[in-house]
């Protein structure tokens, strides 16, 4: 277990980890305010359960798992599913260079929340299938199938060059 932290030390930890966690949260949720709420919640939980952090070097990873787990619990709420439906872009909605940033964000919005989280954790945070499964509290098989489905959907928006045909089982 890591030594107890003073509030000043935890403040330093917040400053160090906030940008990275915020970026992950924004990519997962696609909304600045929600991303801020998610990171705040995850860091507050990390503060409250600091005794579970086995060593200081593991703390950022711990906070990231807490963030993903918190997001997963949000997705499970019926109110979330009702209030944040998947936005289906019309066919051919992406014009010009499909690799431009707005296209990526728009394409992510076409994914179901959990699919989006899986894609971000795997291809932005570079977590393995098992790590994603653990972070989101789902089975490895679900991670693989969700990855496969999400890539298929992204492919229609972004083209094969960005989301090539690949099996979800790869990238362990």
């Amino acid at each position: 277990m890591a030594s107890p932290l003073t509030d000043d030390e935890f403040t330093e930890f917040v400053h160090a980890t906030w940008p990275g966690l915020y970026r992950t949260a924004y990519l997962m949720l696609g909304d600045h305010q929600l991303a801020e709420d998610l990171v705040q919640t995850a860091l507050a939980k990390t503060y409250a359960s600091w005794r579970k952090v086995k060593e200081p070097a593991a703390a950022p990873s711990y906070a990231r798992v807490v963030l993903a787990n918190t997001a997963a619990s949000w997705f499970r709420r019926r109110s979330w599913r009702n209030e944040h439906p998947t936005e289906q872009l019309p066919e051919g909605a992406v014009h010009g260079d499909p690799s431009t940033r707005p296209a990526v964000v728009d394409a992510l919005r076409t994914l179901a929340p959990r699919q989006r989280a899986v894609i971000v954790l795997r291809y932005y945070d570079d977590l393995s299938v098992r790590e994603v499964a653990t972070a989101l509290g789902i089975s490895e098989g679900t991670v693989k199938s969700q990855t496969s489905d999400a890539l298929a959907r992204l492919r229609t928006q972004l083209g094969d060059a960005v989301a090539p045909q690949t099996l979800g089982a790869t990238h362990d």
Partner: protein, 371 residues
């Protein structure tokens, strides 16, 4: 193959305008969460409930939205893949690892965040028939005896937690006991004075979900918050045997079966099941199986509402800790993905006998064997 996607995601992330961290607010909120833990403990003390320690080692997926429970980055330690027993031999991690229980027979096993909890005794019967002893098998295969011995009771386990809950009658009064199997210490004992009648066991059967122990009495289902000692009732599940998995339960209304959130009563899934159909929840409540006929079984993702169809009947399968289904056929282990419906046969060859007085008795992990 997906480097381009990774690159685009990183470009998008690096171009974000990141707001300054509200460190003060985070610390204040964290303090509030931590204080709630302490207040919870103090309230329990005031209620004259015996709470021994408040240690938590909860697994992923069991964290409350308010952060009152914390996660362990190591994740659930029950492992992945099929878990089953043959005689006194425990097979886990998809049958690739084994451990032996030093007793006459295994009665049943339960997934916990601390490892696989095994109930064993002089025979393999679940009801009556002598003492029920417990051992914890951790991921490295070590068998840790647990000091609890029960007789003719139905325990409650939440796969996301390291606790064994059960009821016993002391001087004519029902008491709910919560035991931390990771530390082998009793952490709570709560009297339930109004619990007077229940089924044929020596004490009421219980289920555990989060901080709530559901006590199966005949008149109404009672709830016990074992941290605060608060006792209540719920009509989200009927009286009698409490069947709660991951905070969810199955209800039947006419020809419809529903999966409900026991705490809120919210209906999460509805299946037209006819008069005889039945939904069976996975240990964590994320999936529900339904026998379409005697040849196929539908497996629903409760949250997504999607389903896959597998051959056979639900009774042919066991649930793995990570929510897939498996079955032992002959000497082979077949695992079926609940997300894709794809089934694979492993290379593991299961022996014919596994030791003890019932050496060929095959039991699936977390399966209920009570009558």
């Amino acid at each position: 193959m997906t480097e381009r996607l990774s690159t685009l995601l990183r470009e998008e992330a690096s171009a974000l305008d990141v707001p300054p961290p509200p460190a003060g607010a985070v610390v204040a909120r964290g303090r509030g969460l931590r204080r709630r833990h302490r207040i919870g403990s103090a309230a329990a003390g005031l209620a004259l409930v015996t709470i021994v320690g408040t240690g938590l080692a909860i697994g992923l997926g069991g964290m409350g939205d308010d952060g009152s429970d914390a996660v362990d980055p190591a994740g659930p330690s029950t492992g992945h893949g099929a878990v089953f027993t043959l005689g006194t031999t425990v097979f886990y991690d998809g049958g690739t690892k084994t451990a032996t229980i030093d007793d006459q027979a295994i009665k049943s096993t339960y997934y916990t965040s601390a490892g696989l909890l095994v109930r064993h005794g002089d025979n393999n019967y679940s009801d009556g028939s002598g003492p029920q002893r417990f051992s914890l098998v951790t991921e490295d295969g070590t068998v840790h005896p647990v000091s609890v011995v029960t007789e003719d009771v139905v325990p409650g386990i939440d796969p996301a937690q390291p606790y064994l809950a059960y009821a016993e009658v002391v001087d004519g009064e029902v008491q709910v006991v919560v035991h931390d199997v990771s530390t082998d210490q009793e952490v709570a004992r709560v009297p339930v004075p109004d619990a007077k009648k229940w089924g044929g066991w020596s004490a009421p059967p219980v289920a555990l979900s989060g901080d709530t122990v559901y006590v199966g009495t005949d008149d109404v289902e009672r709830t016990v918050d074992w941290r605060t000692g608060e006792i209540g009732t719920t009509d989200a599940i009927g009286p009698g045997y409490p069947d709660v998995s991951g905070g969810r339960a199955v209800q039947q209304t006419g020809d419809q079966m529903t999966v409900v959130d026991v705490a809120t009563g919210e209906v999460l899934l509805t299946v037209d099941a006819g008069r005889t159909g039945y939904l069976q929840l996975s240990p964590d409540g994320r999936f529900a199986s339904y026998d379409v006929d005697n040849k196929s079984v539908d497996v629903y993702d409760v949250d997504a509402g999607t389903k896959v169809t597998l051959d056979g009947q639900s009774g042919d399968y066991g649930w793995s800790p990570d929510g897939d289904l498996f079955q032992v056929k002959g000497r082979q282990l077949i695992t079926c993905s609940t997300s894709s419906g794809e089934c694979t046969t492993s290379d593991v060859t299961i022996p014919e006998k596994g030791g003890g007085v019932a050496p060929d008795d095959l039991r699936y992990g977390n399966h209920t064997y009570e009558s």
